[in-house]
């Protein structure tokens, strides 16, 4: 989600809540010899923190039922971002900035990781959509990328055979006259070399998932290579050659989209399971602390 001016009320509310928390915590910490979660104020902070954590976790449940009229999803998302963030100072106030015991230490670490990964995710969601929009004009639906790549291979093969045909000696009516009158260069060696280059370099690159280790990932190198081919061949073959170069460019963009998409959603692989573990352990901690 893009953090823009619409987040201002949420940001102010969060800051106010933090200040209010601090205003309660500081006198309490100064007054009490060993402030901690077991005290009345500590328990209040703990309850608030647990409530915020549970609420933040509810976002994934909300997403599973997208048409339920229980508040717009964007409101839920804003609440998740800011209230989830607010949970961290509440946890710190609850624990009085100490982790006493193994479970609480784990909880503290998980909390920090969850908030940090959340902030990182928010930053990615704030910046990457714009990058995808600017850097991938050929963007397609992510799941369709393999299909599109398959189509690109077929398209490139058509253009490659076009290159070969355009460079082959003329056939049909009038060809003999043309051949006799004009001293046309034979391009057999060059055509063969192009065929090898296409089959051994271009097609594997187009079929490859991603572009790791391929020189085709480098736009300048590809452009230089096709410039060389254009210099070698007659202008008749330039059009399909340029088309193949454009196909390589499209593949490069799709690879780039794949990478950006992976970053845009990959952080959730850290954030979600750790969040789930945090909520679970927090409940265990709450029940255990209240009972014993």
């Amino acid at each position: 989600m893009r953090i823009d001016e619409t987040h201002k009320p949420w940001m102010i509310a969060t800051v106010v809540a933090m200040v209010a928390g601090a205003a309660v915590y500081i006198p309490y910490a100064l007054r009490t010899a060993t402030p901690g979660g077991g005290t009345a104020i500590g328990l209040i902070f703990g309850s608030v923190a647990l409530g915020l954590m549970l609420f933040a976790a509810m976002l994934s449940v909300r997403k599973r039922f997208p048409i339920w009229r229980i508040g717009r999803a964007k409101i839920w998302m804003r609440a998740h971002l800011w209230l989830g963030f607010l949970a961290l100072p509440m946890v710190l106030f609850h624990a009085a900035f100490h982790a006493r015991g193994a479970l609480t230490a784990v909880l503290m670490v998980l909390m920090v990781v969850v908030v940090a990964s959340g902030v990182f995710g928010a930053w990615l969601q704030h910046t990457l959509p714009t990058r995808i929009f600017r850097e991938v004009p050929f963007e397609t639906i992510y799941d369709q990328i393999p299909v599109i790549c398959g189509q690109l291979v077929a398209e490139a093969e058509g253009h490659a055979s076009d290159v070969t045909q355009r460079l082959a000696p003329a056939t049909g009516a009038g060809a003999t006259v043309v051949d006799t009158l004009m001293d046309l260069p034979t391009m057999e060696n060059e055509t063969e070399a192009f065929g090898r280059f296409f089959a051994e370099s271009v097609v594997p690159y187009l079929r490859q998932k991603g572009a790791r280790g391929s020189r085709f990932a480098n736009r300048d190198w590809v452009h230089g290579r096709f410039e060389d081919l254009r210099r070698e061949f007659l202008p008749a073959a330039w059009e399909p050659l340029t088309a193949i170069e454009e196909i390589c460019e499209e593949k490069r963009e799709l690879d780039h989209q794949r990478v950006l998409h992976m970053w845009l959603h990959g952080w959730l692989l850290v954030h979600l399971p750790i969040s789930a573990a945090l909520v679970l352990l927090a409940i265990v901690h709450a029940i255990g602390a209240l009972r014993y």
């Binding site: 997208p66 048409i67 959509p129 639906i141 998409h261």
Partner: protein, 744 residues
């Protein structure tokens, strides 16, 4: 230069003849009694001068094709000199070198024009070698016409017959040089093309390239011996009153194109949504016509009474479509039969003398309803060539009109909102004062600026209503069956305010101006309704004109216009700088519509917005053209919606230029099954599936489109494009339109 309309004198082979200016040499010669041979020219077609057989000496530097060359005052023309004969002989030889003489026509009837003319010119052999390039194989796919490409001389008579005379536009030329040939549609076999077997090409063809299979002993609507189908002898057909006056030769040539069929009570004759190409005329018995029961337009989940469902319905409050608020509340479903079906109980009876399936037969629309024999029935099933001739037959027309007036006029009128409240006395008054008129595809019914002389009600087909603006046609509406026009001119200044053109084979109920005014005087409640409609249409037209004007004055809108965004009323846009491609919008759409999404997160881009593939509620909704049951329509708010009686033919999906409509299969539930059981069509009910067209309905049963509601990143918006993009476009079209409307 000569002026049209004045007379002039020309001399043809020594005969002086006075002809109007603008007359071709060919016509002048005909008037002088001189016959100029020709192969590509026919009196009823536009001359194209491709065969060059009609070359004449007009005193010009070169010989001229008489069919196209205009005569001039004092011109002296020679049509049969030695050089001309030599040229013609060479042309005949060249054409014969590719012609399988004797061709099929010459073999059967001895009247191949090429071979006859060549023989008359003394050409019996050709000096030229046969072509080296192989000719296309003969096309035998049509049920009534045999195509022999080797006999074709590319005179284009069939092409012009198909397009100029019949307006079918099926035949054209393809290829060039040796590979030039006639072709059907996009080079399809004639039998699978949109050819309607009207026979005009066959009649136009000068050689044996297009011949009647009947002449060749082939060609039938159904294979001989098909159970329940009987050939009808021409004499038997002519004995039927409805065939009185039809050419016996025509029926004889088209034997097999009309058959007699017997159906037992309960037997299904045609099924809704299926494709077909025939019409039926009931000779004996009765048939019931119905469509599958209406199904809820937006169904989220199967109705059940479980705790979870009850909880869920609390969370997703749904309201039924507020039909009462609609100006044009549909009371009837329009089908391809003389009757309309009441919405609440979509079933009616067809009687002896009724004709159904006309739109399917004439314009290849899918069947709009299911017809089943109510009693034992005898019917005539006919192809379009027969129906076309029948429609032109006065006896048949008179009978159809009589039956229509007696049985269908009242229902038809009442199905039109402005006449929905009329009584039997009103229908009685109109019964003898309206006439049925037919128009071919592309024919102009009335022209903008012409005197307003009649009011029209569409009975069959579709009418395009347009106005001229800045030299271009601006489409105001497509009127389906039940649509009406002509009232604005009659109620206003007495001139037509728009041009109306038949989009396909159209039949209209025409009411002359005096009758119309008399009717308004006698029935003030109808007058009031029509006045309201006139005012409404005037406002809508004014708004369209204003928008078109603004568009004209803002040239930097190129991209916006190219993508058709200006014509959209509502767009689903995704802000690509906010969208994280999480597909929550797609998932929400699918959840709201039986698990089938109605939007695709792909489409054109404008600025940083992606215009998702989802209904745009176009101002010019081409999707509505051709719907055989009128189930795709506009609400008062101008939103396009697909009614639940859709028969799933997919025509709207084909017509949508943006791919925003899809056809899906759904389970038949609730009332639908019950209705089928009542009607005895258990086979259908057991099948349990119906096909329906689906497009974004803006989740109008909910407070906000689900895709927008479910977007967690505030990226999805349903917007009015002109307002939303006003800053980019530099103008707010809607505001300007409203301003003009207020100050008008």
């Amino acid at each position: 230069m000569s002026e049209h309309g004045e007379q002039m004198t020309v001399t043809i082979d020594g005969h002086e003849v006075e002809v109007p200016h603008g007359t071709t040499v060919f016509d002048a010669a005909r008037m002088a009694g001189v016959t100029i041979p020709t192969l590509c020219h026919q009196q009823n077609q536009t001359p194209v001068a491709v065969c060059r057989i009609c070359v004449v000496d007009t005193g010009e530097r070169a010989l001229q094709a008489a069919c196209i060359f205009k005569a001039e005052p004092g011109m002296v023309v020679k049509t049969d000199t030695e050089p001309i004969q030599a040229v013609r002989k060479t042309l005949y030889e060249l054409m014969l070198s590719d012609h399988p003489a004797p061709c099929l026509r010459q073999q059967q009837t001895g009247d191949c024009e090429l071979e006859t003319q060549a023989a008359r010119a003394g050409v019996t052999e050709t000096r030229f070698a046969k072509r080296a390039v192989p000719v296309l194989a003969a096309d035998d796919s049509s049920p009534s016409i045999h195509v022999d490409f080797s006999a074709c001389i590319l005179c284009d008579r069939c092409v012009r017959g198909c397009s100029e005379i019949r307006h079918n536009n099926v035949i054209a030329r393809q290829g060039k040089g040796y590979f030039a040939a006639i072709s059907f549609d996009a080079n399809e076999p004639m039998g699978t093309s949109s050819c309607v077997s009207c026979g005009e090409c066959m009649v136009s063809c000068p050689t044996g390239a297009l011949t009647n299979k009947r002449v060749l002993g082939q060609g039938r609507l159904h294979p001989e011996g098909t159970p329940g189908i009987f050939d009808v002898e021409t004499e038997d057909l002519l004995a039927l009153p409805v065939f009185h006056g039809v050419s016996g030769t025509f029926l004889n040539l088209n034997k097999g194109s009309v058959v007699k069929r017997r159906y037992r009570a309960g037997e299904t004759i045609v099924r809704e949504g299926e494709n077909g190409s025939t019409a039926f005329y009931i000779l004996e018995g009765e048939a019931e016509v119905f469509i599958r029961a209406p199904r809820e337009h937006v169904a989220t989940e199967a109705a059940s009474t479980g705790l979870f469902t009850r909880m869920r319905s609390m969370l997703i409050p749904k309201s039924r479509q507020p039909r009462e608020e609609e100006r044009d509340t549909p009371t009837h479903i329009r089908i391809d039969a003389p009757v309309d079906l009441p919405y609440d109980n979509p079933i009616a009876t067809l009687h002896e003398g009724d004709l159904f399936g006309e739109m399917t037969c004439m314009s290849f629309y899918p069947r709009s309803a299911t017809v089943r024999a109510k009693t034992d029935c005898v019917m005539l099933e006919m192809l379009r060539n027969v129906l076309d001739v029948m429609q032109k037959n006065k006896t048949f027309r008179a009978r159809l009109e009589k039956d229509y007036r007696a049985r269908a006029l009242g229902t038809h009128l009442r199905s039109v909102p402005i006449f929905s409240t009329i009584g039997e006395d009103f229908v009685e008054v109109l019964r003898d004062r309206v006439e049925l008129v037919r128009y071919a595809p592309g024919e102009v019914i009335c022209e903008e600026g012409a005197p307003a002389d009649a009011f029209y009600l569409v009975r069959i087909g579709f009418v395009k209503v347009s106005q001229k603006l800045n030299g271009e046609d601006m489409v105001l509406a497509y009127l389906p069956r039940g649509g009406y026009f002509g009232e604005m001119g009659l109620m206003g200044e007495g001139v037509r305010t728009a041009t109306c053109v038949a989009l396909d084979h159209v039949e209209l109920v025409r009411m002359e101006a005096p009758e119309f005014h008399a009717m308004l005087e006698r029935f003030p409640e109808v007058r009031q309704q029509i006045e309201l409609t006139v005012e409404q249409r005037r406002r809508e037209n004014q708004m369209q004109r204003t928008k078109a004007n603004v568009r004209e004055q803002n040239t930097p809108l190129g991209q916006f216009l190219e993508q058709g965004l200006m014509d959209a009323q509502s767009l689903l846009v995704l802000d690509l700088t906010k969208c994280t491609r999480c597909d929550q919008c797609v998932k929400a759409c699918a959840s709201a519509h039986d698990g089938v999404t109605r939007l695709l997160r792909d489409g054109v881009r404008f600025e940083n917005y992606l215009v998702a593939t989802s209904c745009r509620q176009c101002r010019d909704p081409r999707c509505m053209i051709g719907c055989p049951v009128g189930s795709i329509r506009r609400r008062n708010s101008l939103e396009v919606m697909i009614e639940d009686w859709c028969v799933g033919c997919g025509l709207c999906a084909q017509n949508c230029p943006y791919g925003n409509i899809t056809v899906q299969e759904f389970d038949v539930r609730g009332n639908a099954v019950a209705l089928h059981d009542v009607q005895g069509d258990k086979a259908d009910a057991n099948a349990g599936k119906v096909r329906k067209a689906t497009s974004c309905d803006l989740c109008h049963e909910l407070s906000e489109p689900s895709c927008v509601y479910a977007c967690p990143h505030d990226a999805a918006h349903r917007v009015k494009p002109n307002e939303f993009f006003a800053q980019v476009l530099g103008v707010d079209l809607d505001r300007e339109a409203a301003f003009v409307g207020k100050n008008r």
